[in-house]
Symmetry: C2
Subunit: 111 residues, 2 copies
DNA sequence: GCGAGTGTATGATTTTCATCGAACAGTCGG
DNA sequence: CCGACTGTTCGATGAAAATCATACACTCGC
């Protein structure tokens, strides 16, 4: 039989098409999640594990934020050995909510 | 001297240019405020008083929501006799957050 | 100027959400 | 098989936000 990469339950994903505007906006209206999305946008796909992000919260909260991002159709996850790697669903999200992601990514904080 | 229309304190407004993406998203990530913005978009400017909107909340909460919308640069208000009439700041908001308002207005709930 | 109509302010209540600590579950290298 | 590493789950906590009821302020027609 085919080789299994993981015996863990695969994370549940929601396609952007099944997401309401309100849910999408709520997902992006949080400073930690905005940081995650921005960092993710600046990295190659599947290159970032959940723990590799520079956000000031514990791993429990971090896990929660990724759940929210998945539920909003913003992030796709895949298990790779012990870690869970991420990908920003740019094209799909853009198709569903044109311009929205760009607004978040372009509006960098004035450091 | 010039005639005064109102002896009330004029409502404080925030221009969309002075609003962060996060604030804008948070303002639009609420069902009641989404309803207000949609109804407002379907009416002539300055034609709707605060109490004329069909939302399931008391007037105290309603007043609060308009404060949030003003603070996000989404709504402009003017006193007209006993009522406070509203205007959606379409052009200004669109200039600051291109496409965002359209997303909210286009995504009508499937009734 | 009274009273109805409209909106704001205040304080309390409720709900929602972000967060943490601790316990648990896979994965992988030795 | 053990131990380090990664991430999830659970329960509790705290903060923020929505809501309400009440009281107050302003406008206007009578």
């Amino acid at each position: 039989m085919a080789q299994r990469t993981s015996h863990r339950a695969a994370p549940e994903h929601t396609h952007p098409d099944d997401v309401s505007v309100q849910t999408a906006l709520a997902a992006l209206a949080d400073p930690v999640r905005i940081s995650l999305v921005r960092e993710l946008a600046g990295s190659a796909e599947w290159s970032r594990s959940c723990g590799s992000f520079d956000v000031p919260v514990g791993k429990a909260a971090l896990s929660h934020h990724f759940t929210v991002l998945r539920g909003a159709g913003l992030v796709e996850q895949r298990d790779e050995g012990p870690r869970r790697v991420n990908r920003l669903r740019r094209a799909e999200f853009e198709a569903r909510f044109p311009g929205l992601l760009d607004l978040v990514l372009r509006d960098e904080p004035t450091v």
